[in-house]
C-alpha cells in the first residue's frame, strides 16, 4: 500500500520536518558564506591598497628625480602608464584606453599639473579636493560620471605638489560579485538537494508509520488475525510495528481464551439441556392426561427460556469484551422492521397497543441479520411486556450517509429513574418486570458489536425513548472518521 494519494504532501509531517530542517540548514550555510565573502573582500582590498601605496611611492620617486622640463610630463606619464598595466584583478577591457587607472599631479596652488588617464582630469581633481585623503592610506573617492568609486593613494612631494594614483574598484567589485553569484547558486543547489533528501527520507519513514496506522485501524474492525506490516530494518518504526504485533498476539490469545471459555460453557450446559428436553418431550408423547401434561409443558418452556438466557448472557459477555463474532451480510432495516412488526402486530393489537413504523424507504447496512432479528424481537417483547393497554409505539427508521438510526418511542410510563441509570447492566430490570433483566443489555451488546450505540431516556411528555445508532458498514468510510474516533478515545 502506498501513501494516501488524496492527502496533499504540504500537509504531511514529512513536509513540515523537511521544511524546518532545510530552514536551519539554509541559515547555517548562509552565515558561513557571508563570513567567507567578507573575508575575501577584505583580502582583495588589502592587496590593492598595498599595490596602490607601492606604486604611488615609485611614481613620487620618479617625479622627484625627473627634471621639471618639457620632458617631465612624458617621462612621468610613461611610468604611470606602465604601472597601470600591472593593475591587480584586472580584466582585459574592451576599449584600448585604460580608464581604470589614473595619475594626477596637482601643483602647490591646487591646479592640475599633470594628468595621465581618460578625459581631462578636472572632474577627478575636483572630487579629490572634496575628499580628505591622508597620506599612506588609500581612500575611496567618488568621481562624477563614474558609477564605481576610485581607490586613491596620495603622496606629498617635497616641492609641495601632490601626487595621486587612482584605481577603479570596478574590477574588485566584479570579482566579488561573481564570487557572490557562485556562492548563491551553490547555496541554492545544496539547500534544494538537502530539502529533497530530508523530505524523501522522512516521507519513506513516515509512510511505514502510515501503513502501520492503516493496518492497525483495520484490525479489530474485521479480524484479529491480521498484523501490521514489519520491516527488516532495526529502527524505531520497526520496533513500533513489532510491539503492536506482540500486543495483538496477546489480545488475540485472550480473545481466543474467552471464546474457548464461552464455547465450552455453552457446550457443557447445552448437552444436559438437550437430554432433559428430549426426555420431557418423549414423556409428553406418552401422556394423554391433561393434568399431567401441564407441569411438563411449563418445564419445557422454562428450559427454552433458560437456553435463551444462556445464549444472551454469553452474547452480552462477549460483546462487553468486544469479542462477539458477527456474520455480516447486506440487510435492509426497513424490510427487517416491516417483517418484525408484521409478526408482532397481532399480539400488540390483542393487548390494545398500536404500533406504527415511520420510514422513508430502504436503509441498507452491513450487519448480522440473525442478531438484529433477536435485538428487535427483544425490543418488541419489552414493549409488549411493559406497555399498558391503549398506548402507541412509534418506530422511526432514518438512514443517513453512513449511519442508520432506529428510534422507539412509546407513551407508556417510561423507565424508573433508578433503572435508567443502569439500564444496560445485566440483571437490571423494572420492579414489575417478569424478564430476566437481560433485554436492554443484549440490545446494547448487539449495537456495540456492530460499532453502534444505544441511548435510553424518558420522553418529556412521558414515555420511554430508545435510540439505536448503527453504522452502515464496519469499516470507517473516510480517514476523517477514523481520526475522529481515535481522538475521542
Amino acid at each position: 500500500m502506498s501513501l494516501k494519494t488524496d492527502k496533499p504532501p504540504m500537509r504531511s509531517a514529512a513536509w513540515r520536518i523537511s521544511l524546518w530542517a532545510t530552514l536551519a540548514f539554509a541559515c547555517g550555510t548562509m552565515v558561513v558564506f557571508v563570513f567567507l565573502q567578507s573575508f575575501v573582500a577584505g583580502d582583495i582590498q588589502r592587496r590593492s591598497d598595498a599595490w596602490l601605496s607601492g606604486e604611488v611611492e615609485v611614481l613620487g620617486d620618479v617625479a622627484e628625480r625627473t627634471p621639471k622640463d618639457a620632458l617631465y610630463g612624458r617621462v612621468v606619464g610613461e611610468v604611470a602608464e606602465l604601472a597601470a598595466r600591472e593593475v591587480p584583478n584586472k580584466e582585459a577591457s574592451e576599449t584600448a584606453s585604460n580608464d581604470s587607472v589614473f595619475f594626477l599631479q596637482s601643483g602647490v596652488d591646487g591646479s592640475l599639473k599633470l594628468w595621465v588617464g581618460v578625459g581631462n582630469g578636472q572632474d577627478h581633481l575636483k572630487a579629490i579636493r572634496a575628499t580628505e585623503i591622508p597620506p599612506d592610506h588609500p581612500t575611496d573617492v567618488r568621481v562624477p560620471g563614474f558609477r564605481v568609486p576610485f581607490r586613491v593613494a596620495c603622496l606629498r612631494a617635497d616641492d609641495g605638489s601632490h601626487i595621486y594614483l587612482g584605481l577603479s574598484e570596478r574590477d574588485e567589485l566584479r570579482v566579488l560579485r561573481s564570487l557572490r553569484l557562485r556562492f548563491f547558486l551553490l547555496w541554492l543547489l545544496i539547500v534544494l538537494l538537502g530539502f529533497g533528501i530530508v523530505f524523501l527520507t522522512t516521507r519513506r519513514m513516515l509512510s511505514h508509520v502510515q501503513k502501520i496506522t492503516e493496518a492497525a485501524s483495520r484490525i479489530g474492525h474485521s479480524d484479529l488475525i491480521a498484523r501490521v506490516p514489519t520491516t527488516k530494518r532495526n529502527d524505531e518504526v520497526s520496533h513500533l510495528a513489532l510491539t503492536l504485533n506482540r500486543m495483538l498476539d496477546r489480545i488475540e490469545s485472550s480473545m481466543h481464551q474467552l471464546h474457548t471459555i464461552t464455547d465450552s460453557l455453552a457446550h457443557d450446559l447445552r448437552s444436559p439441556l438437550t437430554a432433559i428436553r428430549g426426555k420431557l418431550e418423549m414423556s409428553l408423547s406418552t401422556i394423554t392426561d391433561g393434568e399431567q401434561i401441564d407441569p411438563i409443558v411449563s418445564v419445557i418452556d422454562e428450559l427454552d427460556r433458560l437456553t435463551d438466557f444462556l445464549n444472551k448472557s454469553l452474547d452480552v459477555a462477549e460483546a462487553k469484551a468486544d469479542a462477539l463474532r458477527l456474520t455480516r451480510s447486506a440487510v435492509d432495516l426497513n424490510e427487517l422492521l416491516r417483517v418484525m412488526i408484521d409478526l408482532y402486530e397481532p399480539s400488540m393489537s390483542e393487548r390494545g397497543l398500536r404500533v406504527s413504523l415511520q420510514s422513508s424507504g430502504p436503509v441498507r447496512i452491513l450487519a448480522d441479520a440473525a442478531l438484529l432479528h433477536r435485538m428487535v424481537a427483544n425490543l418488541l417483547d419489552n414493549e409488549l411486556n411493559h406497555l399498558p393497554a391503549n398506548r402507541t409505539l412509534t418506530i422511526q427508521l432514518r438512514g443517513k450517509e453512513d449511519t442508520a438510526s432506529l428510534i422507539l418511542e412509546d407513551d407508556g410510563p417510561g423507565f424508573d429513574s433508578e433503572v435508567l441509570l443502569h439500564v444496560f447492566e445485566r440483571r437490571v430490570k423494572g420492579r414489575d418486570s417478569s424478564g430476566h433483566g437481560l433485554g436492554l443489555a443484549f440490545v446494547d451488546a448487539v449495537a456495540r458489536a456492530h460499532g453502534g450505540s444505544v441511548a435510553v431516556s424518558n420522553r418529556e411528555g412521558g414515555g420511554a425513548r430508545i435510540a439505536i445508532t448503527l453504522p452502515a458498514s464496519p469499516e470507517p468510510s473516510s480517514h476523517s472518521q477514523l481520526l475522529a474516533s481515535s481522538s475521542s478515545n
Binding site: 471464546h259 464461552t262 464455547d263 455453552a266 457446550h267 447445552r270 448437552s271 444436559p272 439441556l273 438437550t274 437430554a275 432433559i276 428436553r277 428430549g278 426426555k279 420431557l280 418431550e281 418423549m282 409428553l284 408423547s285 401434561i293 401441564d294 411438563i296 409443558v297 419445557i300 418452556d301 428450559l303 427454552d304 427460556r305 437456553t307 435463551d308 445464549n311 454469553l314 463474532r325 456474520t327 417483517v339 418484525m340 408484521d342 409478526l343 408482532y344 397481532p346 399480539s347 390483542e350 440473525a370 432479528h373 433477536r374 424481537a377 427483544n378 417483547d381 409488549l384 411486556n385 424478564g435
Partner: protein, 225 residues
C-alpha cells in the same frame, strides 16, 4: 429408512434412538468417529445424524472423511457450540443441514424429512394443496374450506401453506418463525400463538371440525384425518 446416529452423550443417544425408531427409522448408533467409519463402511445408510463434539475426532472431519470414502447420504449436524464453523457453512451449502442443541424433537424430525426429500428426485412442485376439505391454490394464493373461500391475509396464507405442507406432523414455534418469517428468534412472548389463534378463527369456523390442533409443549399440527 436406515439412519446412522453418531453421538457420544449416552442420555441424548438413548432418547434420540427411541424417538427416531418411533418415527419409523432403523437406527444404528456410534459413540465415536472410529465406530461410525466402520459402520458406514459395512453397510449403507439413507441419512446420518452427526454430533460435532466427538471424543476421538471432530465431527466435521468425520463427515469429510466419510464423503471421501464415497458417502452420498445427507447429514444432519448437531452442535452445542456457539459459533457456526465456516466448514459447517460449507457443508450446509453442499446440501447438509445444521441444528443447534438443545432442539425440539419435532424440528429434528422435520429437518430429517427435508434432507431426505431434497436428496430424492424433487417431486414437481404442486400448485394445489388439499388437506381434508381444506384446499389451497398456490398460484392464485387462495384458500377455501368446504368450497367456502377464506379471507386470509398474505401472511396468514403463507402460515397455512406451511401447516398444510406438514399436515399430520407437529411443527414447533421456532420452525414456524424460521420458515414463515425467516428468522431464528426465541421470543419471550406468545407472538406465534396469536397468529395461530387468528388463523384458526378463520379456518375452523363454527360447527366445523377443528383442523389446527395445539400440541402443548411442542407446537401445532394440522390434522389430516
Amino acid at each position: 429408512m436406515r439412519l446412522l446416529l453418531v453421538e457420544d452423550e449416552i442420555d441424548i443417544q438413548s432418547f434420540l434412538r427411541r424417538s427416531l425408531e418411533e418415527s419409523g427409522y432403523q437406527v444404528e448408533v456410534a459413540s465415536d468417529g472410529k465406530t461410525a467409519q466402520r459402520l458406514a463402511a459395512e453397510s449403507s445408510f439413507d441419512i446420518l445424524i452427526v454430533d460435532l463434539g466427538l471424543p476421538d475426532q471432530d465431527g466435521i472431519s468425520l463427515i469429510l472423511r466419510l464423503r471421501q470414502l464415497g458417502l452420498r447420504a445427507p447429514v444432519l449436524i448437531l452442535s452445542a457450540r456457539r459459533s457456526v464453523d465456516d466448514r459447517v457453512r460449507g457443508l450446509e451449502q453442499g446440501g447438509d443441514d445444521y441444528l443447534t442443541k438443545p432442539f425440539a424433537l419435532a424440528e429434528l424430525l422435520a429437518r430429517l424429512r427435508n434432507l431426505l426429500k431434497r436428496n430424492s428426485s424433487a417431486a414437481g412442485e404442486a400448485t394445489r394443496l388439499r388437506v381434508l376439505d381444506l384446499e389451497l391454490d398456490l398460484l392464485r394464493r387462495e384458500a377455501s374450506r368446504g368450497g367456502q373461500v377464506l379471507q386470509l391475509t398474505q401472511q396468514e396464507f403463507v402460515l397455512l401453506e406451511y401447516l398444510c405442507k406438514n399436515a399430520g406432523r407437529v411443527v414447533t414455534r421456532s420452525m414456524i418463525l424460521d420458515k414463515v418469517w425467516g428468522m431464528r428468534i426465541q421470543p419471550d412472548t406468545n407472538v406465534v400463538d396469536v397468529h395461530i389463534y387468528r388463523l384458526r378463527g378463520k379456518v375452523d369456523g363454527a360447527g366445523q371440525q377443528p383442523l389446527i390442533r395445539t400440541m402443548r409443549g411442542v407446537g401445532y399440527v394440522l390434522k389430516d384425518r
